[in-house]
Amino acid sequence: MNPFFSARGYYKENKLNVYGMKKKIGKDPWFFITLFCSVTVVTFILFPLIEMVTQPSLQDLKDTAGDTDVLRSIWLSIYTSGLAAVISFIIGTPFAYLLARKNFFGKKVVESIIDLPIMIPHPVVGIAILGLAGKNHWLGQFMQSIGIHIMGTVTGIVTVLTFVGLPFYVNTVKTGFEAIPVRLENVSRSLGASMSGTFLRVTFPLAWRSMLVGMIMCCARAISEFGAVVIVAYHPMIAPVMIYERFTAYGLRYSQPVAVWLIFVCLALFILLRIVSPVKEKSGD
């Protein structure tokens, strides 16, 4: 063996990287496929949005930003979807925990039920909820007698948005819980902590990031909901309903600016949320 042999020289000569794989991958077809698909996907998403954002004139954007009806509807959209996300957090977390930890008879059916709101056509959701809330149904009669009104109210909007956003939260958080080893919880229980104590002091601190991502997903889904909300509540107008109303009443020119402002506001919110949730370090298990 040549005493002056060096592994480093060998790697350099043969153009290998530290794992011994060929560095130059230029001629590999997988590289080109990946590149092509990535560019296509990003363009597919960005192109229509960039078109829409650049179409309105700056004057139109300024006028729309000053319109109190538009500002009110964007604010309504934000806070109803925020409320929907919070409600999903409160009632969805224990349910997601159950789905992550326990295997029970009919679990697959329950998981499919949770996915139902995703596939049901949106107007159907609105019609179903409106049917329940009317005086012709016992639930509607009960709710109206205690003062809860669904048709044309913020309560109705939040109900619908929670219905469509819940599956997104539950599925995200369930995956988050599944990634936490049961061992850690078992250790905690074996040391004497209660179920509640274990959840609050062991599981929650490890899972809060996936809960935040789940709330973002739920919020994003809720903010864009149109078909179900327009059936339950045309007024007060959330932003998607206003965009549609302006489109049908005045045309593209007056509805695009509202859409642009909604996109900007939502983008800002979501970027902020992602900044606030720091990147998870590798758990190294």
Partner: protein, 329 residues
Amino acid sequence: MKRIGLLAKWIFCLSLFVVLPLSPMVAGAEPQGDVVIFHAGSLTVPFAKMEKVFEAKYPKVDILREAGGSTKMARMISELNKPADIMASADYKVIDKALIPAKAAWNIRFATNQLVLCYTDKSKFASEVNADNWYDILERKGVIWGHSDPNLDPCGYRSLMVLQLAEKHYAKAGLYDRLIANRPKKNIRPKSVELVSLLKTGNMDYAWEYLSVAVQHGLKYLLLPDEINLGNYKMDAFYKKAEVKVTGKKPGTWITRKGKSCTYGITMIKNSKNPEAAEAFLAYLLDPEGGLKVLKDMGQPPFIPCRVSSEKIKTDLPGSIKGLVEVKN
């Protein structure tokens, strides 16, 4: 041998794909293809029936209907350039103002209607409401009543006109403002027929609708005096006293609509993609034994024969329709 047989089958199938699409050109003058009809929401039930009858008569035709507030549908044609062959409006003036002359050349008045107050037996005070006390009941707190959006639907501004005329007819000053005060914005819907489902699910107690819609959907309704129900053209001079402001072409602009008896209008859109089939449908619709009979049976009195406003318009009409209209103002 087997291979040749297979090849022959493939050539035959492929040639069908080439020949069949070309066959419409060979088939002759029978109406065929798609006909896109934009129409008022209140015409949905009769037009659905007419669609079935017409498609049974001409199986190669596919009628594609889209319903909505007539103002909105007309704007979709005029402002958004959505392709349509026929436009049927609940207010013929919408066609005159929004479509003529850029998108249409003539306007045929084909039916009338009147406004009624609809309710169900689950509505509040359903057992005591009648033609003398309806305006007191609508003022009561807790009664949920609504109408369609005046900016998108003629039924919306007509409902408001009925209320204004009621104030004058019953000589109750301030009635209109008091009624509107008891009608929060959430009780307004873009299309009048949406109010029907709200009534039926018990989410609304009273709604302003056309008589034909009430009949077609099996709702209870109150008939109102001719002076206020916008149903009798002889009362036009009184109807004119009602005025409603609706939004114009741009946000922040307004148009004033004056009261007039409910007159439905229909027209063919210029540069329609399928003028032959559209004309055939109009010939069926305007036939006293065809479409007009369907309207009559469904509670909507048609004009028999249909009317145009001048001799010149009559001469401009397509051949098969000319004989079905008369000139009357």
